[in-house]
Amino acid sequence: MLGHWAALLPIPLPASPSPIDATSLGIWALQFTPRVALVEGSVVAEVSGSARLFGGMEALHSLIEGGAAELGARIAWAPTGTSALALARHAPGEAVFDGFRAPLAKILDPLPLQAISAVSKHQPTLARVGCRTLGDVRSLPRGGLSRRFDKELLAALDQAYALRPEVYEWISLPETFHASLELTSRVETAPALLFGARRLLVQMAGWLAARRMGATAFTLRWCHDVMRAKDAGAGGELTVRTGQPTQNVEHFARLLAEHLAKVQLAAPAGDIELLATEVLPIIEESRSLIPETLRKGANTDLALERIQARLGNTCVRRPALSADHRLEWMQSWECNAQRKSSQPPYELPLPSWVLDEPLRLMERDNRPYYQGPLQLLLGPDRIEGGWWQRSGEGADARPLNVQRDYWLALSAHAGVLWVFQQRLARDQTAWFLHGHFA
């Protein structure tokens, strides 16, 4: 009958005037255990079955307490749900109260009558017989109590002191996630929205963890204040995408910060709302004893996503090779990674750096010059073709045909170079630098 109960009581945070509503708090708590119930505007959760999954009761305690501090909730631990709730409401002082540090009766007895709502209903009568605390009520004769008061009082007392089983209606998890928040003050710059949005992100991560899903896209909406310019509109929204489904609050918050840094609010915002727009099943990390080394690159993928969020999608590039003889069209750089089709390697040597545009070289006495005279070592490697491809559409498109003799050249200062001579170009014949064997 004795369990391990947590009671979460919403309290206002400095970031927001209104405390979190109990339903959202309950949904967040569902990630730790399926036994979560809403009682009188608070949340009680029984977690004794989840201790092993989260690596022991101590680890679970610190996880729940950390989350509760971020969402704005007082928390108390006790062997029964009713007593946990009573302690969360009326325990002296600190934000976290552990009801396991002394026998339950010793902790509950000094609490005032308001701690248990079934008892506080009869507070005027009880006060007149001289009862100030729960301990006073408990020491009255049981027979007299059940005759003079309703049976709920005795039942609630017995449940609190773990003499009778408790019955709760467990809540279930919604299919979709959306949460909203009213900000303390009107926010005029987009990055400041992040302070409020963080609480919503923690809630979303809780919902995702409970559903065993990861988000690949989430949307932050903000409503403009009523005192706004006519052309500002009612609000705006921002959708953030991630490469891999994830539940990581820190990663969400960093991505959102990078995106919000580019947003200009049309008017001050008063309310924000968060939606999980796209979710996918997530492959969770194994919590085995032996540490896994395979997931080492995971952090780097998150870092690459942050870089893309700040510098633009096109700045992280992966090569895609294609079957072409011409150096320019042999490869292209793309922002999203994809597997290439396997191709036979090109037989002749290729440079490790190429120039975006071939650089026309000066000539002296029919020999190319680049930082001094070039010594031609090997060649010619003749590359021809490209008549099938044109540079764009329309009248000014020109065929991307090349007729080149490539030479391996050595320069005293610039190292080993890949130069070519334009063929069949009449007076356009010239030498060009195209790559470096660095």
């Binding site: 690159g297 096109t314 290729l350 750096w353 005279p373 060649g379 190292g415 790559g435 660095a438």
Partner: protein, 265 residues
């Protein structure tokens, strides 16, 4: 039998230290030892001069060159493929020219594992490098930082201490006039022929005064360059330079027999 007493009365004899003390003593003339894992550079002469016998991890390595895209891969292409064999990736941060993936494949670097991160401003380059180094990537990090200040390098060095991959910063050789918090600084320049001239201005341990000459022909040229040319360029390069200076003096350029040779497909 008299027992030697290690007391303050006897003269201090550095030759007869207790064994565990003697092992911990580092002498100024010796090469320092690396605390962390090192990656062999692929050149035996260079490995013997680098602390720990290779490129360090958990630390920065500065490579100083007279110009960018001069001999990066000739120096590194022997060590990097071993890092990529276990699925690591190579991060090229703000290289001054476009890398050619097919050419890199010929050097043994799988194109799927190459990531090019383009950043234009010096601030962005530093930020990207810091983000990547902080995330403890598998593989190697190559970053081109032509305009970094010592305090910025120090910040990177602190992050690099928790990074289990070698981090190479490419900087111009003129940066040698400034101090740098990087524990290893290596200046590289092409020497005569196919050789690389490598100097180590800073390392843990005694400084290296003379230059090393490494035979570093680009990996994909070894099969196509005929034996005759494997030695020729040294003399010819010297010859052409001489010729050019004479030519300037004479006011005309002597016709030069092309040393070229056709390649068979």
């Amino acid at each position: 039998m008299p027992v030697p007493i290690p007391s303050a009365s006897g003269a201090f004899d550095p030759g007869s230290l207790p064994r565990h003390v003697a092992e911990a003593v580092w002498r100024g003339a010796e090469l320092g030892d690396s605390m962390s894992r090192t990656v062999s550079s692929g050149f035996a002469e260079l490995d013997s001069e680098l602390p720990g016998g290779g490129w360090p991890t958990h630390s920065l390595t500065e490579l100083l060159m007279p110009q960018a895209t001069l001999c990066e891969w000739r120096l590194l292409s022997r060590s990097i493929p071993s890092l990529m064999s276990s699925g690591g990736r190579i991060y090229l941060i703000a290289p001054p020219k476009q890398p050619h993936a097919a050419g890199l494949e010929q050097l043994g670097l799988n194109a799927d594992q190459v990531v090019w991160i383009h950043a234009s401003t010096p601030v962005d380059r530093l930020w990207v490098t810091e983000q990547i180094v902080k995330s403890d990537p598998a593989g190697a990090v190559l970053s081109w930082l032509p305009q970094a200040r010592p305090e910025q390098i120090r910040r990177l060095q602190i992050h690099a201490q928790s990074c289990d991959a070698p981090v190479f910063l490419f900087r111009p050789v003129t940066a040698l006039t400034d101090s740098s918090p990087a524990p290893l600084r290596v200046a590289v320049a092409p020497a005569n022929g196919w050789q690389l001239e490598v100097r180590i201005p800073k390392r843990r341990g005694a400084s290296l005064d003379e230059a090393l000459y490494l035979a570093a022909m680009p990996g994909n040229l070894e099969s196509v360059v005929p034996p005759r040319l494997k030695t020729v360029p040294a003399t010819v390069a010297a010859l052409t330079r001489e010729e050019a200076s004479n030519a300037w003096a004479l006011g005309r350029v002597a016709p030069h027999p092309s040393a070229g040779q056709p390649v068979s497909h």
